[in-house]
């Protein structure tokens, strides 16, 4: 069972339908009680770091999610959901992430690039992981974001180049994140969602 954490800004339904299409049991989680016993949690994207951080705090999700992570529950963060797994973001100074990954998100250098980074771009795998099984070494995926996590060779599983190289897939222990939207990235995206379900 995949537990998809809902928030007012997210496109949780899109992830829900993707898993439904894959034939994987899933539910959208709107309160803490529904997280009991969760073994796989997805934090969907779409939103702003500050608003999501505030929602998680106000809904008392932060500590239970951190405790589940400590107990070994597997997490998949998507886009903003990946960034919120980290510590902070340039998008909302002072707002705190879940601090499951020691990373922060930086704004793309705007003077050189079109920002947001919107559309399909290349993802280059640089480390092996069960999440990536069956994928080509390079594949395209759909991105929509203005902030990114810098490359950290201990954590980065895949890189995308957009003026700078940034982390498009990250992993540490039971925590993984993707900067793109697998629920919107056609076959490659579905493969990642399916791999997370099988992980």
């Amino acid at each position: 069972m995949i537990h998809i954490v809902d928030s007012p800004s997210s496109n949780a339904k899109a992830v829900y339908y993707a898993y439904k299409d894959l034939g994987v049991a899933c539910r959208i989680v709107t309160n803490l009680a529904q997280l009991t016993g969760a073994k796989k949690i997805v934090i969907p994207g779409v939103g702003a770091f500050g608003a999501l951080s505030q929602f998680l705090n106000d809904s008392n999700f932060v500590n239970p999610l951190r405790e589940l992570a400590d107990e070994g529950t597997k997490f998949l963060g998507i886009c903003l959901g990946m960034q919120i797994l980290g510590v902070s973001s340039d998008e909302s100074s002072g707002a705190r992430g879940l601090r499951l990954l020691e990373v922060s998100s930086n704004r793309f250098p705007e003077d050189e690039l079109r920002v947001p980074h919107t559309g399909w771009d290349q993802v280059s795998i640089c480390a092996s992981h069960q999440l990536l099984e069956g994928l080509n070494h390079e594949f395209s995926a759909y991105f929509s974001h203005s902030y990114c996590v810098p490359v950290d060779h201990k954590l980065t599983l895949a890189i995308t180049n957009y003026g700078i190289a940034f982390t498009s897939i990250i992993a540490k222990g039971n925590i993984v994140g993707v900067q793109f939207h697998p629920e919107r990235s056609q076959d490659s995206g579905r493969k990642i969602l399916s791999n997370f379900a099988d992980w």
Partner: protein
Amino acid sequence: MLYRRLIPKIVVERAISKTSPEFHSILTRAYEPHRIVGDPLSQIRIQQSNLVDEIVLVNRCRSEFDSAFSELVLQACEILNTPITVGGAITKSSHAEMLFRSGADKVIIGRNRHDLKLLESIATNHGVQALVISVDYSEYDLAIGLEAFLERELSMGYMSFAGEICLNNISRDGGGVGADLGIVDIIHGETRIPIVVGCGISTVNQIAECFRVGCDGVTLSTFLSQTDQSIKQIRSHLSALGVHIRTRN
């Protein structure tokens, strides 16, 4: 390097039905209904099977936001594995939230782009990347001169909240004379926000020209219902013309 995007735009209108709210997709000319062309959900299925880069779904409602449209978006999201951008008389942030909760990835604000409180609210809650500003203008608007028109647009202040700008010269809609690219160059000089252009495209060479002048994406509506080429074939054609376009997933 980002691939250039081909984006089918499906315009819908509420059908008059005594039993349930239904929408049909229409072709427009100068943004006025021209012809009913079928069921939006089956069109979405067809476009998805062609691995389109994104789909735009717009409810052509002149007066006010129609909450039944969010139900259509929900039905579309049930079958989609590709990004979807939606719009149609969004005047309150609650309208946008309703569409995001149905599964939309981005929302379009057109006529209300002057409403900075609305834009700020959407950008703060859903992120700038989720907000597309549609600049729909006609030759009548351009009569004051291109620079004066742009000055008027930029003075509205919406650029600070826009994740993407979609430029549509309504006078060219459905006419097949090519998109209005004169405006694109000047906008590029003013902003680093991604630009999508639509209205008037009827050949692959016209699409290639849009990308040559720096557009990030092109929306296609009438063209797709009249051409004998699928999106896959158009993509191959564009690739052969040197456009950096996705030819596989």
